[in-house]
């Protein structure tokens, strides 16, 4: 127990970084995802094609590589990020693409009659989207989005590649130093608690949206 307590400061620091990257990515990539879904469905061909290409790149290459490219590659063309911003930037771009596809499937699954009803009621396109389409989309994409969010928690460990001290890295350092599995077990426990909490939150959200069929 005493050993566990001595591990805590570095672990909590790691957890803090993990949680930060997780939260900021989530807050930025969901709006980006909605935008991406919209652009992908745009009637303006170049916008739709560009978004398709963006999604192809983001889904077609490993996130780890994307972080490396942002941090080590972009400075070559004069764009420099610090470790933290580089990680966030890569994560937001990557998760924005995945959320984009999730939202697109949700938007496309809403019946055409809903748009037509909104149209004959003189609702403007943005009001139609915000008030009629988006709420129905959110309900439909919640399970898929929950998967993505939980994957994000665990993906945050990839930022070790640019030398950021997140939870898993803190555990590994302690584990190597003390030749013990306890730090890693602790790390697993932290991840489990985080994903457990998120699962609960998403279950509640689904329940909140279950007031209609």
């Amino acid at each position: 127990m005493r050993y566990v307590i001595t591990l805590m400061p570095s672990m909590l620091q790691g957890l803090f970084t993990t949680f930060n990257i997780f939260l900021i990515t989530l807050l930025l990539s969901i709006p980006l995802g909605i935008l991406a879904a919209h652009s992908r469905l745009s009637k303006i061909k170049p916008i739709a094609k560009f978004t398709e290409f963006y999604i192809l790149i983001m889904r077609g290459t490993p996130l780890l590589l994307q972080i490396v490219f942002v941090f080590f590659g972009l400075p070559l063309i004069g764009i420099t990020f610090n470790r933290y911003s580089a990680s966030i930037f890569a994560f937001v771009l990557n998760y924005g693409a995945y959320f984009g596809e999730i939202f697109r499937s949700g938007i496309e699954s809403v019946d055409k009659g809903q748009y037509e009803a909104a149209l004959v009621l003189s609702l403007k396109p943005y009001k139609t989207f915000i008030r009629i389409i988006l709420p129905q989309t959110i309900k439909r994409v919640l399970p898929a989005a929950a998967n993505e969010v939980i994957t994000l928690v665990k993906d945050t460990s990839l930022v070790y590649i640019v030398g950021l001290g997140e939870l898993l890295r803190a555990g590994k350092i302690a584990s190597n130093r003390d030749a013990s599995l306890i730090p890693l077990t602790l790390v697993a426990l932290f991840y489990l608690i985080l994903t457990g909490l998120l699962t609960k939150i998403f279950m509640n959200l689904e329940k909140r949206y279950s007031y209609y069929l």
């Binding site: 009659g113 809903q114 037509e116 009803a117 009621l121 003189s122 609702l123 008030r131 209609y212």
Partner: protein, 246 residues
């Protein structure tokens, strides 16, 4: 009030409407009859600007939705269409209620969010119309909790609170039990004063009960346009005869 002249519409080179012309005045309850696939719904969708017609003129309360210029329909500007749209109402065959909103929310959505009406005022007005259609006790229910007839009355209320000059119904009885048809017929007649009602149906007895005039469409063309009694007692064409007696 409503003027349709020489309307043509094709889908991928397949002609669906082939020169439809008719007019309607306040108080008319116009039944558009015909078998499936003759172009009834396309006509209604063109009038409601859910489809663009290829040729022809549509004039609504004196304003052009589109006008024929050199055998091509030229549509008015978006702004003008927005104004014309306010004069039109449509009750869809499948109602298309917003499933995430209660009946009351469905009904006040457009008044509040498209016509900038005060929410309390809109709700008060909505409740009055719901009451007149005997649906007030369902104001806080969601569409999935309603029966077919209740859904339809919710959809009618949603269109009615905007006080359209021309109110269209697409197959108003298709989702209803026979015993509910009489109720809908009465509602439609009650709200027909001061406006044009257009209704598509292939329910002969319903058309007989509710309409004042019948337009019979076959293969994209109007083959009869007559007062109801004339049409049902003495149909001129074989196709309409068969339809009535089917």
């Amino acid at each position: 009030m409503l003027e349709i002249k020489d309307l043509y519409k094709s889908f991928k080179e397949v002609p669906v409407l082939k020169g439809i012309s008719f007019t309607a005045e306040k108080g008319d309850i116009l039944g558009i009859l015909g078998s499936s696939g003759v172009g009834k719904t396309t006509l209604l969708r063109c009038i409601n600007n859910l489809e663009k017609c290829d040729r022809g003129t549509i004039k609504i309360t004196g304003e052009f939705l589109c006008r024929d210029i050199n055998e091509k329909s030229m549509y008015s500007s978006k702004k003008e269409i927005l104004e014309i749209r306010k004069k039109l109402g449509l009750v869809f065959q499948s109602f298309n209620l917003f499933p995430h909103m209660s009946v009351l929310e469905n009904v006040i959505e457009a008044p509040v969010n498209a016509f900038n009406m005060n929410k309390e005022e809109a709700a008060k007005n909505a409740r009055a119309v719901l009451k007149s259609l005997n649906l007030l006790e369902k104001a806080d229910s969601y569409p999935y909790q309603l029966s077919g007839g209740q859904k339809q009355r919710a959809a009618i209320t949603r269109a009615l609170v905007l006080n359209p000059d021309i109110l269209c119904f697409d197959e108003p009885t298709s989702a209803l039990d026979p015993e509910l048809r009489e109720g809908v017929a009465r509602i439609i007649q009650d709200i027909s004063e001061n406006r044009v009602i257009l209704l598509i149906t292939h329910d002969v007895s319903f058309a007989k009960r509710v309409c004042s005039r019948i337009i019979f469409i076959d293969n994209g063309e109007i083959i009869e346009d007559r007062l109801k009694d004339d049409f049902f007692t003495n149909p001129l064409e074989d196709k309409s005869k068969n339809f009535i007696n089917a």
